[in-house]
Symmetry: C2
């Protein structure tokens, strides 16, 4: 039986591996590790101990010890997740890779970046940019998240329309398995048909199959020019329908974002300034990039033309700071209004977004709760902020599952899924259990059991197995 309680002897042994100062057991040092970016206290839990190894070898030794002692491990990157995946929900030791923060190599000829797990995404982006190259992954939390966390959660973000999600950037990884063994999957090569692609199983497995200690990332040439457009529609159907028209016209935007009118009005209050057509507007924000300025201007004109054909009420080609201001403030605006809120992260076929958003609007009225939609409409990924406002925690915990239930029933009916990019973690584990096809769920559990038979690597996250939770006492 997996143990959530870490023995004093084990803590002493951790100190011998990583050094006394890199094993945290003091309350003040533990607090930052008790949550990720989920603001709901329901998903917080102070860990008993945090271990900070500096090398893969140290990670391996720590994991081996835990394995031998049937002790639960929770791998943790920067803790910027939105699914309570890196929280010690069922006790155990948090293994933080934050000290493994070196970019090991930028190989210009093979166009590969090799990096330790704990490098901040924006640091990596800037380092490769200095070499005239470009890393396509771009989660919104890029300034604080770590690259291995991006890989472990298959982080999405804005640029996925053109460059794909994190999965599409990964060429290889070094992993420490639940038994403490070290293995490199993939590498500096771009094609691979050599057996099962375990690397792709680890991408997005949220630390439940092993600990990612090193990544090999695909680089591309840095595009020379960029252009940003804001297009406003008074009808959401028209707004969303612009995307396939643009893409069918041979333009692959870097990103296509949208914000519904409720979100825009909330941002207006937060920023305390008038936003364009905020009375009735739904925003579409498009970024295009390339090496030829004339081509880019032609594409801009084409997009504006298609927008007008599609009943846009305003189009603005301007400074990115102006264009992106409202979209970037979306999350903060909601958090400022209600610290506790649930950020849903559904994904549906692109053309089903209007239907989903309209239904959400009806749910907002039905439950008399503020629900704001924004997201990545180039890939059908809709974020819905459900705000607690001044409800009691009790009322909130009673209401939220009902709303989620209605949302997810709709999403699956539209051919979508629970999460487009934030993942399952602990927050959505029960939802995954409920809404996933039983055959798929059974296979997921079989894979988890096969690769972590003791159920000690981040148990109770993504999928629960063995019908048991670890024992803490």
């Amino acid at each position: 039986m997996a143990k959530g309680k870490v023995s004093p002897e084990l803590i002493e042994q951790f100190k011998q591996i990583v050094g006394e100062k890199y094993v945290y057991t003091d309350k003040d040092k533990l607090e930052p590790y008790s949550h990720d970016e989920v603001t709901d206290p329901h998903y917080m839990k102070e860990p008993q101990v945090v271990v900070l190894p500096a090398t893969t070898e140290e990670v391996s030794k720590v994991v081996k010890l835990c394995y031998e002692n049937d002790t639960v491990m929770v791998p943790r990157a920067a803790g910027t997740g939105l699914a309570a995946g890196a929280v010690a929900t069922f006790g155990g030791v948090i293994i933080s890779i934050e000290r493994m923060n070196k970019i090991l190599e930028i190989d210009k000829d093979n166009m590969v970046c090799v990096s330790e797990a704990g490098v901040t995404t924006s640091v990596l982006q800037e380092a490769v940019q200095k070499e005239g190259l470009f890393y396509g992954g771009d989660p919104c939390s890029g300034d604080s998240c770590f690259i291995s966390g991006n890989v472990a959660t298959n982080a999405g973000g804005n640029r996925a329309v053109k460059y794909g999600v994190t999965r599409d950037q990964v060429m290889g990884m070094e992993v420490v398995t639940p038994t403490g063994e070290v293995v490199t999957l993939g590498g500096k090569f771009r094609k691979n048909a050599t057996g099962y692609m375990l690397m792709h199983l680890f991408i997005g497995s949220e630390g439940t199959l092993g600990i990612i200690t090193k990544v090999y990332l695909k680089l591309v040439a840095l595009p020379k020019y960029q252009q940003d457009l804001l297009v406003v529609f008074d009808n959401l159907d028209d707004a969303i329908a612009l995307t396939p028209k643009v893409m069918n016209a041979g333009i692959t935007p870097v990103c296509v974002e949208f914000m519904d009118n409720a979100s825009i009005k909330q941002v207006e209050i937060f920023l305390d300034e008038k936003l364009p057509k905020s009375d009735v507007g739904n925003y579409i924000i498009i970024q295009i990039a390339g090496d030829n300025e004339d081509v880019l201007m032609d594409q801009c004109e084409k997009i504006v033309e298609l927008a007008e054909e599609n009943n846009a009420i305003d189009s603005l080609v301007a400074d990115p700071a102006v264009i992106w201001k409202s979209r970037k403030a979306y999350l903060e605006a909601d958090r400022a209004r209600s610290l506790v809120f649930s950020m849903e992260d559904i994904v549906v076929p692109m053309t089903e977004i209007p239907g989903a958003v309209q239904q959400i609007s009806r749910l907002s009225e039905k439950y008399n709760v503020a629900m704001h939609c924004a997201g990545h409409c180039g890939d059908g990924n809709v974020h819905i902020d459900i705000l607690k406002d001044d409800r009691t925690q009790e009322e909130w915990e009673e209401m939220l599952p009902k709303i989620q239930g209605e949302i997810y029933a709709l999403v699956y009916q539209l051919g979508g899924r629970l999460s487009g990019e934030h993942g399952i973690g602990y927050k959505r584990e029960a939802l995954l259990e409920k809404y996933t096809d039983p055959v798929e769920l059974k296979m997921m559990k079989a894979v988890k059991k096969a690769l972590d038979p003791k159920n000690i690597m981040n148990p109770g996250k993504v999928v629960s197995i063995n019908d048991e939770v670890p024992v803490e006492e």
Copy 2:
């Protein structure tokens, strides 16, 4: 224990499911199913029975019967594989999906094609092209292979530099599991972080985890213009080094192919015509595509300029038929010279190609055997044709493993892998066992055991488990 022998009762039950005429047991009907495109008789085996279901439901019923009777199944698409993956090596029933040949939907707005498993790749390519869209996958056997075979083997091909391999085109799939259950993984949405990505595990699993019955494929806009270049180098290092220079310059070619001098000379004999600079030349063939003719011409000029800087001895911008003639004849030229040959399919970091090819040239001298190299240098994937010529089958079977041993030792030393796109099948199963990191191999076997515990779904291919082969009598 899995049974390789199919009982007469089971054959009768198959007939009741799919109809008498779609269960083949006659020798003349079985012959085409006794091999794939591997020409070595060592890898051929006449099956006892072939079943041809017309629907997913029929596939499911057939599989359930086999599961209940512990009987080995071998899923088969068009049989154009190069690893003896779809051959009934250990007996059992071949389940061919060739009758499931309908394109179900071309969804222009979501830019997705939904297709049954048995649609020929080129048929699908043409159908979406008629709608002004483009399917990026393009294995060399496109005119004969089936789309589900592409997915099952993660087929590569020429266009992978720009569009990626088959994996990068797949948005979803319907699968019949080894127990006969039906499940849809993924769908018409472009982001997904909802649990383990089993879809990516099935891609490239070569029919060892289940039978793919339906696929959801990503479409992009059809590019308007295309340009093909042939660049000739007398030095292979210079030839290969052109690729990163082109890509670093912000040009993403559709493909970058290469042929070594030995291959060119062989093709010259086959075509019975003089090829450019065939006395000393190594060829690089580049295709670029886009929507703006001027930009394309600028890119052409830039490539020629970079080629000259890199000591090219000739550059030719011409009709694709002229440019591609030699590369397309590579395989046929070798087959015409020696029907039996081994086509290796290594992958290494792009910059290691010259080192690999030079070493192969030395092996060719050492063993006094013809070895011709060509392949996809934009992604480090090198095909090496080792020709049997007039050796006896005995001499050949003695020599080949020695050469392969030397090649693979080198490939792994260079940070590469056994197979870039042809897969493991039965042909490379022992090699995978030998060269794969033991930790990775153990995980692959654990996954196979978890998803096919009876070891009845294409056993003995990719990875062997249970230390047993199915019993045929």
